[in-house]
């Protein structure tokens, strides 16, 4: 074998060996350094400084920070985290770098306001984020809608929600739902009808698949909660008349209280337990339900959305 060929083979093998060793060592380093140290650091926390450092390419930097916020939230959410320390600063930096980045306000406010583990559980910070967005983009009706939504769903501040919807309804080309919701808020604040109206508006006005899936899941959950309440009141009615609990839905049908075995939004029949409670067959498939679950039921860390949504 020629010496040059020997060197080529030796150098090639050495290169491959070094590459493999560097990958293995890198994996070892990742294990040795705690995940928190790697993730929970903002090297430059000031949005103003970052804007200056971007040399005018702030749009790209905003995209990078938004992607970082999405990845941070997604990673934490997947772990079922109760704390999202970096989420608010990441969103503030993103929106300061690019105040027109609507998606950061819309999704970011949802990430911030939802209760853990579905979000950071910080609705006040979400309100501040959306209010900043409104100051920067006063003609974006969706931001007023998001603001009203946070006030209604997370803060239960119905006056605040009505005010946000009313402000939004005055914006040119605002969705007609805003005027209706502002008017209905005074009458139906806090009841399921209002919540259904809001999720329906979210479903109908959004083109984003994940927002629509979330709204459809909430609408199903509202339907289950209402149906379980109605069925349990029928069971109570039967007990009052018959003096004992029904053995199953056929007893209620025979008593003329039901026309048939009731089915949940997924098409499965509801279950009637011996102690008179109504349950769904697969609670894991019906995220966000508050009724119809077995005692001690713990919902999955990540809510399940149906592919059909």
């Amino acid at each position: 074998m020629k010496p040059s060929r020997t060197i080529t083979i030796f150098a090639g093998l050495l290169l491959a060996g070094c590459l493999l060793a560097s990958i293995l060592l890198q994996r070892r380093l990742d294990q040795e350094r705690s995940q928190a140290t790697l993730e929970e650091i903002l090297y430059v926390p000031s949005p103003k400084v970052l804007k200056r450092l971007s040399l005018g390419y702030d749009g790209l930097l905003a995209d990078i920070y938004w992607t970082r916020a999405v990845q941070y939230f997604g990673g934490k959410h997947h772990q079922g985290a109760q704390e999202y320390k970096l989420l608010a600063p990441l969103l503030e930096i993103t929106t300061e770098l690019d105040p027109q980045l609507m998606v950061a306000y819309e999704f970011g406010a949802n990430f911030l306001s939802a209760k853990p583990p579905n979000g950071a559980g910080d609705p006040q910070r979400a309100v501040e984020l959306v209010e900043y967005g409104i100051r920067q983009n006063p003609n974006e009706w969706r931001l007023y809608y998001n603001l009203g939504f946070i006030y209604y769903m997370e803060l239960h501040d119905y006056a605040g929600a009505a005010d946000a919807f009313a402000r939004g309804s005055k914006v040119p080309k605002a969705h007609p739902w805003l005027r209706i919701m502002a008017a209905q808020m005074a009458q139906h604040a806090g009841d399921a009808k209002m919540a259904r109206m809001m999720w329906t508006a979210t479903y109908e006005s959004s083109t984003d698949p994940s927002i629509r899936a979330n709204a459809a899941t909430h609408l199903r959950a509202l339907q289950v909660d209402e149906e379980v309440s109605a069925l349990e009141s029928i069971v109570a009615q039967y007990r009052q008349k018959a003096g004992h609990l029904p053995g199953g839905f056929p007893d209620l049908i025979a008593a003329g209280l039901l026309r048939g075995v009731p089915i949940d939004p997924l098409g499965h029949p509801y279950k009637l337990t011996p102690d008179g409670r109504v349950e769904v067959q697969s609670p894991d498939d019906l995220a966000f339900i508050t009724k119809g679950t077995p005692p001690g039921y713990v919902p999955p860390k990540v809510p399940k959305f149906l592919p059909s949504d």
């Binding site: 040399l55 749009g59 790209l60 995209d63």
Partner: protein
């Protein structure tokens, strides 16, 4: 006169096109545009935005690197290879040499930008499946990027007419960074008083204003660019290029080449 400038420009263009570094940078910029498609997929709702932001930023930054690193060698290389003496021994004036060199590199950068823009629009078509009317503003952003290149090329040429290539690169790159803060500089100047105010204003108006030439963020959001801004930026870039070239000619005319 114009024929001689065209000859120098076309030779400069041919020489620049032969440079392998140029192809590497253009390929890298095209790769960045392609990578934008992948970045959009790991985020939410910014596919189109990231293609425009990353694509145009890559075009701008790589173009500036090309302008600086080729621009600084335009004069010094000719001296080093002693080809300048052959050129100047013919009926070619020194100022024609400078203007011809500038036109040649400017032409190279325009052609490069055209190819990099094809990459950006290709990536945009891939994520959006069709072009929108607002995508036309991306062309305006590209035009402003070309104006940036012209200014940087003229500055690189100015610095290379009196200093070493390394120093010329440092000066040109520093001016690019300072020029990106031009609006802030004027803001700082307005806060000072007395002589320092005049000095600060003088410095603020002397450095090139690159921030006004960067509309990448707004075109990514499909915001229109006013005709007035296009006209003002065009006028500003031409005047600034004229100023830098005049400086280069003045220095080069007096330079002792023996």
């Amino acid at each position: 006169m114009s024929g001689r400038i065209v000859h120098i420009a076309s030779n400069t263009f041919r020489e620049a096109v032969r440079d392998r570094v140029l192809y590497n940078l253009v390929a890298f910029a095209l790769l960045m545009s392609g990578a934008a498609v992948l970045v959009g997929q790991i985020s939410i709702g910014i596919e189109r935005l990231v293609v425009i932001n990353l694509g145009l930023t890559a075009v701008s930054l790589f173009g500036i690197v090309i302008a600086i690193f080729i621009g600084i060698g335009l004069v010094s290389k000719e001296i080093e290879k002693r080809t300048l003496y052959t050129v100047l021994s013919r009926p070619v004036r020194r100022w024609e040499f400078i203007v011809g060199k500038f036109c040649g590199l400017a032409g190279t950068l325009v052609v490069n930008t055209f190819f990099m823009a094809i990459g950006v629009f290709g990536a945009l078509l891939y994520v959006s499946h069709h072009f929108q009317r607002a995508d036309g503003w991306v062309l305006v952003a590209l035009y402003f990027i070309i104006l940036q290149f012209l200014i940087i090329t003229a500055l690189a040429l100015l610095f290379s007419s009196f200093s070493s290539p390394l120093l010329a690169a440092v000066f040109a790159f520093s001016l690019f960074i300072i020029g990106s803060f031009a609006e802030d500089l004027r803001g700082f100047a307005s806060m000072t008083s007395g002589v320092s105010r005049w000095l600060a204003f003088g410095a603020a108006y002397l450095v090139p204003n690159f921030s006004a030439l960067n509309v990448i963020s707004s075109v990514a959001h499909a915001q229109p660019v006013s005709a007035q801004l296009i006209a003002t930026n065009t006028g500003y870039a031409l005047v600034y290029v004229g100023m830098a070239l005049c400086g280069a000619v003045l220095i080069f005319e007096r330079r002792n080449l023996k």
